[in-house]
Structure formats: structure tokens, C-alpha cells
């Protein structure tokens, strides 16, 4: 209670001032820690704003506080989220307890390193002891280090230490879950909560203790993850204080900490009276009204009115249909949809189809009857081929058949009069139906048939609308106009949604949009977990254009170049020079610092390539596919190796063999590669790896590992081969889920074997592109995630929210679960906990 001289605080740095309200971190902008100001620094040495004693300097060097003799305490925090840098980029120039002069250098930092590796350089100077102050400069603009900045009026009695009185109650010891200990942010949350109680409260770490109401005292404890802490309190509300504060500590004081996933109640994927379940075909959610879509039955008379007339009628119908399809292509919602209509148009010119129709015309049948019979017969043929993809194409044939039929019969498609906010429900929606939709009025799709590759799925994804497929048939009995809630993310249609559900879903949607924005803005930041573990996030690409796009979205390389796509539209193989040119252009775009993983031609009976003709197989998925086909036609492989090798040196070149199931395949391919490299005079072989997509390769990974440079796990095929379920099968698609513990165990086996031999493991299948799967993949030890280009920012942002230790824990847990649905639920709970806490912190 000495005389209260006004105290001038000097600018600790040169830079540009920013109002505290604008700091994009609520812990600071809300003044939870204290009032003060923010400087965006242009100098790299933080100096003392006042003379006093260093009351705390964090081991990580990003925060320091100085207390003067009158108890005025000023905290300086360099950058946002810089605690994650764990000291890198910061050099402490003073020690705790040391007396410093105003203006004395305290911390030196590497501004470029921090800018590139942390969220921001925005530096806070806060008067944490709570005295009022006045700004001595304009609120905006530049300041120079050492310039007087604030005038603080010390208050008598402020910041007086409380003494513990009477008998203190002690909590049970608890383990600190926060990855970086109680640094500024969680410490502030804790101190703030403690201030809410009258009792005097102390936080104990072994023999040290700190006043729980003092942020700086808590920070001075220098707690780290795993420390055993106790809370003690004395006073009227001591009991309540201990209960509340212990719960707060266990929850991480506003930070994400390992979630206890102890009791996972399996969610049975059953439909109830108020809920129908299907498979997510396009993510999102919507609240709207039911609109049932049904096709009218057409009246077709068999007998014709003379061959010439009927022939002309068919010609006219086909011509009009061609025109209509052409128009549809022009205004299609995306190139995928345009592609479908182009294929429909080709169907109209198909000689076999026309031949069949003409034969029937010659027998005196009507144009409508002839055309209908021909298309139905061919569609049946498609369905009988035992190929799910072609079976789904039968729907296309039926669609294009219907289009021509209506034109022949002179039935005009009345433009659909859709009510606002429609959720369309159908057995199956055809491309023609969806193309004539007023999509502004459609909020979502629900179909009984179809899978992730159906038209509805493609269209919905192109339009960004939610859709679910494989819903029970009773959905077709819902009354038009009924209000329903479609939650495609969970594959659910709620028939009696309540207001709370709807509002929650809309809020979630809003958050997702914001999140996406933020993710894209931060795409260039590396994918480093909170505890400093780097995950390489690369792209799955099929063209040079996608490579460029991937780089602009923060891709760190190419983890899968699908070489079979480079020349998909060709009827003959591209020349060796052209191939070499393509690979080199892609490698150049990446540059010598980035990985380029080229997968050799991955074709087979299920993925035909025009210039690689092959006999049809009864079971193409178990036939000559991937490396098997290439070894069967070694000239093809040799030529591709030569072309790929031409790009050696432009990027970190990796060659990857698909569908490897036997060691002999790897050895044979390596030998061919060595021969080609030798012939080209290359002294250094590119890295050679294999895809793990056949269970035999995963199970034998310990024998493969010494002979490869890396593994990349193709989860799509690995899943269908492990579970013996076709992922395009309309009825099995929902169960052919890569989250199945069997698949995850194979991934675990693979990683273990690879790491035992010092080799890295990537995941390039669809699982890597699912944010939900990221924690478990990281936890299993996967080193690289190669993801679909648009999802790079999302996956990187997801990684940055995680802790390796948490991930390892959740990975161990899910490996012991029974089925994919349980794994998804466990990860969803984990994700919700993670995202919600990080939103609290970042919004």
C-alpha cells in the first residue's frame, strides 16, 4: 500500500497494434486472462515493458510475465497456439526470479519460423493483475519497441496474496490430461473458475503449490502432461470448489484431452417407427417435405400400323431423344453427369439394340413395342452379367429406353411442379428424372435402390445436396408433404423430427461451412499433431491438373498417381515418348522436394482399358488384375517403367505395384525395373513399394517389408477382399465398410511389420479421406495419408486437432470392437468431443 505512482508500460516489440477484441482467440479477446493489447510484431526480440521480477517464463519460451514491486503483473504471450511449437523458434534470455529493467530483452524468437509453423504471430501484452490502464497511442497503427504504450494506475491492495485459512480440504490426486500442461489458455480457464469461489484454493504439484486464482502462479508450476495434481480449498464453499475444479481439470480446462470411450453402446442399424436407415450417398443434412417420385405406367400396343410408319416413328423418337440428351449434356450439373448423358446418347446409336428393334418392326410390331422389347432384353442381359457396375447400368438403359418410348408415344414429360424444400423419395431416380429437376427446390434425396455409385449419389454430390440410398421400402409409403429430417451423415431419415433436432442439425451445418473456410485458409500449414507428430498429407491424382490443384490446396506431394487414368479415353496405347512427357510434367510440377508415387497400370476385367484388351472372366475381381495383368504382359510393364524412369530426378520418385499378393510378383517386377533402369543407365533405382490391398500381402507384410521401400494401403480393395463383399453391391455396400476391425487389424499388422524394417506406410484408399478415420490411422502408426484432392485441407486440419497419444489409445480400443458400426460410433464420439472443444477455443 505504497503510494500509487502511475506506471508506464513500454512497447515490448515494434509492430502494428490490434485491438484485443479482434484477436481471433476467445481466451484473449474475451479478456479471460486479463485486459491489454495486441501487437503484430515486426521485431524479433521481446523486451520488458516494465521493471520487476520475472514471475514466470514458460519452458517453451513463448510466454513470460513480469511483476513489479507494487504487484502489477504483465503477461506477454508471443503468437497464438505457439505452445505447440514446444520451444522451437524461441530463445529465453532471462530466468525465472531474475530482476529485469524496463526495456531489457526477455525472449528472442525466429519470426519466420513461428509464422510458418504456428497459427499466428499476434503477441499479447496483458495486465493480468487487473489494474485499469489508459492507452497512450492511437488504437491502431505502428508502434516502436520501447515507446510508452499504456499508463497503468496501480490500485491499493490489488493482487494481494490470499492465505489459506483454517483446515483445508484436499481432493484426490488426479493426472493432468493436457498435452502441453496447464499453459496460458487452460490455466486461465482454471483460474477464472477458481475465482468463482470464496474459498481460498490451491493447486498442488508434488511439493509445490500455487494460488489457484492466480493465472501466473498456476503457469509457474510448469505442469506437464501426466503430472499428479491435487486441489485444496478452505472456506465455506470449499467442497463445491473442489468438486467443480477437479471436474474441470479432468476435462482438460477447455482443451481437448483423451476421451474415455469406455461404454460404447452398439447402435443397431435398425429402422424404427420414427427412423429409417440407409447408406450415406452424399453427406449433409436437410429438413423438408416428402415428395414421392413415381413413373406413370405407359400403354404400349404391340401391333404396328405398318412397318414404314413405325420405322419412321422410331427414327423420329431416337432423333428427338438424341437432341434432348445433347441439351442435357450442355446444362449438366457436372462433368460426371454430362458423361452419363453422353453414354446414354451412345446407347441410342448402338447397333445391337437397333438391330433387335428393327427385327421386331419387320415382324409388324409397333415402334414402341419393338424399342421397349429391345431395351428391356438388353437391360436384363446387363443384369445377368454378374457385374454390379453393369447391373447398375441396366438402370441407365431402362432410363434411356423410357425416354425414347415417351417420345414415340407422344407423352410429354410435364415439368415437375415441386413444392419448396422437397426431399425426393423414390425406388430409384433415373438420370433423366434428376436432370429435369428444379434443384433449387430440392433439399435432398432418399432412394430404396442404388449405392454409393448410383446416379443419385453422383448428382447429389455434384449439387452438394445430402442423399441416402438403400432405405427400406416402407419409405415409399410416406405421405407427400410429410415433414422429415434427412441426416445423410448418419444415413438416417427422421420421420418425426422435433424442433431441437432440426435446429441442432442446422447449427452443425453452419459450423461445417465455417470450418471448411478455415480449413482451406490454413491448408498450407503442415499436418502436425498437437504433440508434434508430423503426418504427410498427399494427394490421389489422375492428371497434371489435379496435381496443380492439390498443391494449391496444401498437398505435400502425390501419394497415388493412377496411371491408368492418364490415357483413359484412348483406344490405343500412348507412345512411350508421350507417356514419358506426362510423367515428367507431373514430376516437374511437384519438384525435387516432394514425393511422387506412381502406381503402375491397375486394370483388369473390372476396370477395362480400351488398349489393353483381355478375355472376359467369370470373376474379374479375383482374376488378372493389377500387377498380375502387367506380369502377364511384361512388355506393357517394361514400357511403363521406362516412361516413369524418364521422370527420375524431377521429384522424389516412387513406383508402386498394385494388387500384389505373392512375393514372387514383387521380385519379378523389381527385376524388370532393374533391367530397365540399367538399360537407361540409371545408377540409382527409384523407391519401389507395393499396395497392400490383398489380405495375403497384409498378413505377410513382415516378409514383404525387407524387400520394399514402402507400403501403401488400398483400403477399398482390402476391405472387399477381407470381408468378401463387393463394395458396389447394392445390398452389401453398407456392410463392406473399411472401418471393420478386421480391416483395421490388417492395417495394424502392416504398419508393425513395416516399421520393424524402417519402412513407411501410407494409406491411399478412401479411408484416408475420411476425417473420422484419421485418428485411428494415425494411432495405428500410418505415416502418410494420400487423400482425394478437395479433402486435403480437411484432413490436414483434422490431424492438427489430434494428439498422437490419444490416437494410439483410441486405435487400441477400436481394434477390440466387434463390427464397423461400433468403430464408427466410437470414433464419432471421439470426434465430437474433439471438434466441440476446438470450436469453443477457436470461434
Amino acid at each position: 500500500m505504497t503510494t500509487t505512482h502511475p506506471l508506464e508500460l513500454l512497447a515490448p516489440l515494434s509492430g502494428v497494434l490490434l485491438a484485443l477484441d479482434q484477436v481471433p482467440d476467445p481466451v484473449f479477446s474475451s479478456r479471460l486472462i486479463g485486459d491489454g493489447l495486441c501487437i503484430d510484431p515486426t521485431s524479433q526480440v521481446l523486451c520488458a515493458p516494465l521493471g520487476g521480477v520475472i514471475s514466470n517464463i514458460q519452458d517453451s519460451g513463448h510466454a513470460v510475465s513480469v511483476t513489479d514491486d507494487n504487484g502489477v503483473q504483465v503477461l506477454m504471450h508471443i503468437g497464438l497456439d505457439t505452445v505447440n511449437l514446444a520451444g522451437k523458434g524461441f530463445t529465453r534470455l532471462v530466468k525465472e526470479g531474475q530482476r529485469v529493467e524496463a526495456g531489457q530483452p526477455l525472449i528472442e524468437f525466429d519470426a519466420d519460423y513461428v509464422a510458418l509453423n504456428a497459427r499466428s504471430l499476434l503477441t499479447l501484452m496483458l495486465v493480468v493483475s487487473g489494474e485499469p490502464f489508459k492507452l497512450l497511442t492511437p488504437e491502431q497503427g505502428g508502434v516502436e519497441v520501447g515507446q510508452p504504450l499504456l499508463r497503468v494506475t496501480p490500485q491499493a491492495g490489488a493482487g494481494e496474496d490470499e492465505q489459506e485459512q483454517g483446515d483445508a480440504l484436499f481432493s484426490k490426486p488426479l493426472i493432468l490430461p493436457n498435452a502441453n500442461g496447464l499453459h496460458a489458455r487452460p490455466a486461465a480457464v482454471f483460474a477464472q473458475a477458481a475465482k468463482g469461489f470464496k474459498a481460498s484454493i490451491y493447486l498442488h504439484k508434488q511439493t509445490q503449490s500455487a494460488n489457484a486464482k492466480s493465472l501466473v502462479a498456476i503457469m509457474a508450476l510448469q505442469t506437464v502432461q501426466g503430472d499428479t495434481l491435487q486441489v485444496s480449498a478452505a472456506g465455506d464453499d470449499a467442497d463445491a470448489a473442489i468438486t467443480a475444479l477437479v471436474a474441470l481439470l479432468a476435462d482438460g480446462c477447455g482443451e481437448t484431452v483423451a476421451v474415455q470411450v469406455e461404454s460404447i453402446e452398439p447402435v443397431a442399424p435398425v429402422s424404427s417407427a420414427s427412423l429409417l436407415r440407409g447408406v450415406c450417398a452424399s453427406p449433409g443434412s436437410a429438413f423438408g417435405q416428402v415428395v414421392q417420385v413415381a413413373e406413370p405406367d405407359l400403354n404400349i400396343s404391340e401391333a404396328g400400323a405398318g412397318e414404314a410408319i413405325e420405322r419412321a416413328a422410331l427414327e423420329r423418337g431416337l432423333l428427338e431423344a438424341t437432341d434432348a440428351l445433347q441439351a442435357l449434356q450442355a446444362k449438366a450439373a457436372g462433368s460426371a453427369q454430362a458423361e452419363i448423358f453422353r453414354a446414354h446418347q451412345e446407347l441410342l446409336e448402338d447397333p445391337t439394340l437397333l438391330e433387335q428393334a428393327h427385327e421386331l418392326l419387320a415382324q409388324g410390331k409397333s415402334a414402341a413395342f419393338a424399342w421397349n422389347s429391345a431395351t428391356v432384353a438388353t437391360a436384363t442381359l446387363f443384369q445377368g452379367l454378374g457385374n454390379a457396375l453393369l447391373a447398375e447400368r441396366a438402370a441407365d438403359l431402362a432410363d434411356v429406353g423410357q425416354r425414347v418410348l415417351k417420345l414415340i408415344l407422344g407423352i410429354k414429360d410435364s415439368a415437375w411442379e415441386l413444392p419448396e424444400q422437397s426431399i425426393l423419395i423414390a425406388e430409384q431416380l433415373t438420370p433423366s428424372q434428376t436432370a429435369s429437376l428444379d434443384t433449387r427446390k430440392v433439399l435432398g434425396f432418399v432412394t430404396v435402390g442404388g449405392g454409393a455409385t448410383s446416379h443419385v449419389a453422383i448428382l447429389a454430390r455434384a449439387l452438394g445436396l445430402p442423399a441416402i440410398c438403400g432405405v427400406p421400402v416402407q419409405v415409399l409409403a410416406l405421405a407427400n408433404g410429410k415433414q422429415v429430417l434427412l441426416d445423410a451423415d448418419k444415413g438416417e431419415l427422421h420421420l418425426d423430427p422435433d424442433l431441437a433436432e432440426i435446429e441442432q442439425l442446422q447449427a452443425t451445418r453452419q459450423q461445417q461451412v465455417l470450418r471448411r473456410k478455415r480449413e482451406v485458409a490454413q491448408a498450407s500449414l503442415p499436418a502436425i499433431t498437437r504433440d508434434g507428430h508430423h503426418i504427410e498429407v498427399t494427394a490421389n491424382v489422375a492428371s497434371l491438373q489435379e496435381v496443380e490443384q492439390a498443391l494449391s490446396l496444401g498437398g505435400e506431394g502425390v501419394g497415388l498417381l493412377r496411371s491408368e487414368f492418364l490415357y483413359l479415353d484412348r483406344n490405343r496405347a500412348p507412345s512411350p515418348e508421350e507417356q514419358a512427357g506426362t510423367y515428367s510434367a507431373i514430376a516437374r510440377a511437384l519438384g525435387p522436394q516432394r514425393n511422387l508415387v506412381v502406381r503402375t497400370l491397375d486394370v483388369g476385367g473390372d476396370k477395362p482399358l480400351a488398349y489393353v484388351p483381355m478375355d472376359s472372366e467369370t470373376n474379374p475381381f479375383l482374376g488378372l488384375r493389377g500387377i498380375r495383368l502387367c506380369l502377364e504382359r511384361p512388355e506393357l510393364l517394361r514400357e511403363q517403367f521406362r516412361a516413369i524412369l524418364a521422370s527420375a530426378g524431377f521429384a522424389k520418385l516412387h513406383i508402386m505395384l498394385p494388387m500384389v499378393s505373392l512375393l514372387s510378383e514383387l521380385r519379378l517386377a523389381r527385376q524388370i525395373l532393374q533391367e530397365e533402369a540399367l538399360a537407361l543407365g540409371l545408377t540409382e533405382l527409384p523407391k519401389l513399394g507395393i499396395m497392400i490391398e490383398v489380405p495375403s500381402a497384409a498378413l505377410m507384410a513382415d516378409l514383404f517389408a525387407p524387400e520394399v521401400d514402402f507400403f501403401s494401403i488400398g483400403t477399398n480393395d482390402l476391405t472387399q477382399y477381407t470381408l468378401a463383399m463387393d463394395r458396389d453391391h447394392p445390398r452389401l455396400a453398407s456392410q463392406a465398410d473399411s472401418f471393420h476391425p478386421a480391416v483395421l487389424r490388417l492395417i495394424a499388422t502392416t504398419v508393425k511389420a513395416a516399421h520393424a524394417h524402417g519402412k513407411w506406410v501410407g494409406v491411399c484408399g478412401a479411408l484416408a479421406s475420411e476425417a473420422l478415420a484419421v485418428p485411428v490411422l494415425i494411432g495405428l502408426g500410418v505415416d502418410e495419408l494420400s487423400v482425394s484432392v478437395p479433402l486435403i485441407p480437411t484432413i490436414k486440419a483434422t490431424v492438427r486437432e489430434l494428439d498422437l497419444a490419444d490416437c494410439q489409445q483410441i486405435a487400441r480400443q477400436v481394434l477390440g470392437l466387434e463390427e464397423a458400426a461400433q468403430v464408427r460410433e466410437a470414433l464419432r464420439l471421439y470426434h465430437v468431443a474433439n471438434v466441440e472443444t476446438s470450436l469453443v477455443v477457436e470461434n
Binding site: D40, L116, A452, R461, S788
Partner: protein
Amino acid sequence: MFEKLQRAFWKALTPDLVLETPQAVAVPEGETPLAPGVLSALGGADNLKSQQRVALTRVRVQLQDAGKLDAVALKAAGVPGVMVLAGGVVHLITGLNTAL
């Protein structure tokens, strides 16, 4: 016919490729070009080796020759703060409000 059709659909239906025109394309927020005044204060486009938004409030540029930087002109061009670092690296402090 099957072959052609299969090929077309296979291309259309490979889920990773379906999203070939994601919203993100419209927002390759990567880098907005620098204003002409800023660019000339940095010594012109030829002097610019790289450009990257970092740390929420900064544009990090690498210059061929940091000597060509004109701090006064930068300020006049509306850049409130400039930080010249080693190796031709310069941080332009553009603030939070600059469109990302």
C-alpha cells in the same frame, strides 16, 4: 458397346474423381495477387520469388533482391507493417481484415 459404356461410367463413377469440380476450385484461396502498388514497392514482379499467406495476418514473400524493397512506398500502398528478414524473406503485415 459394353466396353465404351463401361469405360464412360467407370470414369464417371470412381468416387474420388466425381468431385473433380469441388467448391474448392472456386476458392483456391492460395494466393490473391498483390496489389500493383505493393508489387512495385517490392521491386516489381520480377523481384518476387514466392508469395504465401501465413500466420493469419501476413503475406510472406521471398525477394530476389531485398535491396529493391521500398519501405516508404509499401506504407503508401497500404501495408501497415513490414518485417525484413534474412535471405530475402519479407513479411508484409496486412492484418486480419484482408480478404483471405
